[in-house]
Symmetry: C2
Subunit: 658 residues, 2 copies
């Protein structure tokens, strides 16, 4: 039905034009720009803030509302003991190396990656072969630009190529000393100076501060929101009437003092996360809604494939993956599928989305399984944007141990467990008389015996006095009059357990960046005319209201249309600036504004309004209220543009101003 | 129409019951509670998080959407130079004193306040007079409880009473040395130890950290969001097509390392703020919508009244206050009125809200005028919850000076300004020949002359050679052939100016706490049954769906009602826990849930549903869709309960379960 066929791939992705658009329209910008900026810190301007707010609002609907999760808002500033317990003080670190000449600090794994990728690219040039696959090529190109790793056309022998490719496929699997060994073996130096680098050193990524006027309480800025969930577990459990499963959710800022962040929004020192902690019975990780997602097909890259030095993905349904044990359990699989649905819903290109499983060394030692949603982009290649881990009982266990506060579920058993057990029944008088001050250690020694030990003791006592060794290794004689071993019946009606945690964790800034890249294209007839095809559900402004001119006679109509759209819950902005309608629409194509309505003299005379769709630039016309009803259905009701075209006739009169 | 008359003041406000409710229902709790907690850090649980999110959503509607402001999201971590420029490194400090015996650290102004208030209370007891006005009495009572400032019934002489009252009325006006002087004069010691305290010292309230792996970039956590707006001024101005006025807005976390926070949510080390920076022409602070608010009546406490040692408020319309110069200008008055409307809208008691003007010493030196919205509560008495300041051109000026980046508006003048000025026209050849290397300093000296100076020089040169003194104090002779003074015409078509900033700044946690207090009451017939009468617009859950029992036959209806409410945009939760309906409603009265719908056997048979209103416990009945339509109108359409009672008949059958 729509009159224009849109070709969004007429021009190849142009990072320079794309960056210029984001900068010109203030989606985001380096923070403290007028002070020279600080690496890894960015401010979001009006469209970036709105886009982020809309992504978060949709996240809340998709996860919190849909699954009746409990939202939390916990503090960023955290006293040091919490991160000592969680392991962050000891282990939340990256390996860095120092240039032995100029002291420049580099991240060890990034250095290996950049140098080996540059050598492979040089080899491809030397062989005169086709360049790498588009994704990798984009990535390499960008790396060269950003890091100045010079590519020289040097042919490698075939074994070296295979070795480098294998190293790159499992880069996340190396320890610091192994990275140091790789750098020596493959003569990796700092490309910007040519100097050798020193041994990899751990650098803790948490920002430190101290709390209180006397500096007595060391604290850290949280590097994730998760600990705030775990520390409040008992309160949450009570809120859920003592039962699992339930999930808490939190959207908030986190901080990582990255070593040398140079990848735009993909690697920043301060960022917004959205995290879910789903608490579940370790004996039952089934999910009641699993059947709703079992047929969803995903692109998976499992740990065995990677460990074999290979990056080949395969398509599988979630149901098949869980059945085959590729994904550890139903609950983990359910969340992987829900993450997939969320990313598609906000506009991520499904062709550039895959789920990669963590390899053994890469995964936290306590985790049972972990899958990253990786989104392909020109800066970082396949980039982790969401993690989804089964953290087992680790977090609750360590905090319970450190604080001596039980973090447990007490579950009434439907059928009490009844069991018969042997127990020692003492004649306290006879015991005291014979053993006196040693009575305590002797009873402890007996009561430490297991069922078999007690039965053996019973047999021995039936034949007369016997001897028993205490924990300290001292032997005592026990006489038959002191105790009898009896069998008694015990009934347990409560089961206690530490729940396991399934954790989907979203980096909102990374998702936002990838979404912007996936949404960007240029009009076929004019490469200068960039468009951001952001879906209406997340785009900063849904509708632009464009009066033909700033003449006062349009004012009442502008007010009326604004008010009606606001009442319909559709976010609209008026642009009454002094430029042509075409220029105003072009500006809003760059801002991703989904629709435009134009008020002109016909509106004043006939009460009609035109409606423009961003991607096709199609224009339709109808009475103002009809157009508003269509807009509402397009924005909130899931109506497609083709359907809108059936409800509103085409309008050809405005081509001139485009 | 409603059958029950509700008496919300049957029981006096009981802080202990109130705190127990907030704790039991996990509105908020001390952060890191299982680690012993840290003063001034709180976590929000599910109802607290939702209430906060709803207050912020309403704030966005009331301010950002209504006035088409530009939202920002800037970083918390800030390099030190920014706060050196803004003055925070030098001046963002409180005065603290140390107990000379045990080293305890106290905030100087709080110490003076607590001790003098305790003495005045002791005096009232000794005189056998009526206790202080309820507000002050609550405040004193709480202070005693929290700070253990013992009140002893000691009569003061009348002059001392007057002096203390005068000191308290202007407490925010004292400098640190003045507070030290007060402590000496009035023998103020640490009440918890009886020890004297040392001289007040400044303690900077910013949390310090450092950015990057080598610790080379000192940074601070922002104590307000405002600098993020100012630093992005040029980008925002461009986004607004180069014109003022416009406003930016930001909701985000800020940090203050308070000396010894002991007032719950009223004084915390980490908090959520919502700030607006409205940039305006300094020559025109009128506001186009001022007429909409001119008749709004406010309770004002101006600076002159306070400086006279008095706390008497007066009622005035915003229009009258601006006309009389009590409030400095229309834009400031407009925002004060909008703040007032916002606070009433979310449920703050208008009787416990006033606007207090900053006194001379209290106000930042650059500010033109500043008004705090103070909300009365049992912990802090009248507590600043919103500030509304005219910051003049200070912020943009200091950042522009420090960075050499102009932060200016360039305005095309409608009428260019044409003026004739005297200028020096040199004969460069004659000049160089005579003065050689000194030519530069001499021309600079001449060009530094003002109009009158140049005219005088012209007169002197007409009579022959004359002398001029350079900036360095050296004299040179100028001859008539070297230069002539001519009058030329200059045309200026652009006006450059630094905009002024009006800043409404909201402490969300303080507002939230006061709102909870104002919303709390106990049922007349049972003091144990607490209710939070939070307005539907902000309450965490709008509707509770209560199936009579967990029997499977209710499941389809629960799903249907849930889905229909979700479609109507009404946030609902299902409570199918194993307790009586009465207990489930009582729990939700504590959570502030506005309405409840009950699904019972009649629902299954007749398709009816009952609707319960929280405050009155009135129950109405109707077909499910009718009830949902009424709920939607109540929650979103501003319908009053009386109107709902006209649309749905009363239901008396459920009294038994209450």
């Amino acid at each position: 039905m729509s009159k224009t066929t849109v070709n969004k791939t007429a021009h190849p992705f142009d990072k320079t034009r794309f960056d210029a658009l984001l900068n010109r329209r203030f989606f985001y910008a380096p923070a403290f720009e007028i002070y020279g900026g600080v690496a890894g810190l960015y401010d979001y301007g009006p469209p970036g803030s709105s886009l982020q707010a809309n992504i978060i609002a949709e996240w809340r609907r998709h996860f919190i509302v849909e699954e009746a999760m409990y939202e939390l808002d916990t503090t960023i500033m955290t006293p040091a003991p919490v991160f000592e317990t969680s392991g962050h003080v000891a282990r939340f670190a990256d390996w860095m190396v120092k240039d032995t000449g100029n002291g420049e600090v580099l991240r060890a794994d990034h250095l290996v990656k950049n140098v080996l990728e540059a050598r492979l690219e040089g080899d491809r040039e030397a062989r005169g072969a086709a360049p790498a696959a588009p994704a990798d090529k984009d990535k390499d190109k960008d790396k060269k630009k950003k890091k100045q790793v010079k590519t020289t056309a040097v042919k490698l022998d075939d074994a070296a190529v295979a070795t480098y490719e294998s190293i790159l496929a499992q880069l996340d699997n190396y320890t610091g000393p192994e990275l140091g060994e790789l750098m020596r073996t493959h003569a990796i130096t700092n490309p910007s100076s040519g100097n050798p680098v020193g041994e990899p050193q751990q650098f803790n990524l948490m920002f430190a501060s101290s709390i209180g006027p006397t500096g007595q309480h060391p604290g850290y800025l949280r590097p994730e929101t998760a600990q705030g969930h775990f520390l409040n577990f008992n309160r949450l459990l009570e809120f859920n009437n003592g039962r699992v499963p339930f999930a808490s959710a939190q959207v908030g800022r986190a901080f990582r003092n990255e070593i040398s962040p140079r990848a735009g929004l993909l690697r920043v020192r301060e960022f917004t996360m959205a995290e879910i902690e789903h608490f579940v019975d370790p004996l039952d990780k089934s999910h009641p809604r699993f059947s709703e997602v079992a047929e969803v097909e995903l692109v998976l890259l499992d740990k065995y494939t990677q460990a074999a030095g290979n990056s080949t993905t395969r398509r599988m349904t979630v149901g098949a993956a869980v059945a085959a044990g590729v994904i550890a359990n139903e609950t983990l699989g359910y969340f992987v599928a829900r993450i997939h649905a969320f990313l598609l819903r906000i506009g991520i290109d499904g062709q550039r989305l895959r789920f990669r499983q963590h390899m053994a060394n890469e995964m936290a030692h306590y985790a049972a399984d972990c899958w990253d949603a990786e989104i392909q982009n020109s800066v970082g290649g396949w980039t982790e944007c969401v993690g989804c881990a089964d953290r087992a009982a680790y977090d609750l266990s360590v905090h319970a141990a450190a604080t001596k506060q039980p973090l447990l579920v007490r579950q009434a058993l439907k059928e009490p467990i009844v069991e018969e057990r042997a127990v020692a029944v003492w004649d306290r008088k006879a015991l005291g008389k014979t053993l006196k001050g040693d009575a305590g250690t002797v009873t402890a020694a007996v009561e430490a015996l297991d069922e078999a030990g007690l039965m053996r003791l019973q047999g021995e006592l039936a034949q007369g006095p016997t001897r028993i060794m205490t924990e300290a290794g001292k032997e005592f004689t026990i006489e038959p009059g002191m105790l009898t071993i009896e069998r008694k019946t015990f009934k347990t009606s409560v089961r206690e357990f530490t729940p396991n945690v399934i954790e989907p964790s979203f980096g909102i800034g990374r998702i936002l960046y990838c979404l912007l890249e996936h949404s960007f294209w240029s009009r076929e007839q004019d490469v200068e005319r960039g468009v951001l095809s952001l879906p209406a559900v997340v785009t900063p402004t849904k509708v632009l209201i464009v009066p033909l001119s700033a003449r006062a006679e349009f004012d009442p109509l502008v007010k009326e249309v604004s008010m009606k759209l606001r009442k319909a819950g559709v976010h609209a902005r008026v642009d009454d600036s002094n430029t042509s309608i075409g220029k105003r629409y072009a500006r809003n194509d760059e801002l991703g504004t989904a629709y435009g309505v134009t008020l002109d003299f016909a509106s004043v005379q006939n009460g009609t309004m035109t409606l423009r769709e961003r991607d096709t630039t199609d224009q339709r016309i109808g009475p103002i209220d009809d157009v508003i009803a269509v807009v509402e259905a397009l924005v909130h009701g899931g109506m497609e543009w083709d359907e809108a075209c059936k409800r509103l006739p085409a309008y050809d009169g405005v081509q001139a101003v485009e």
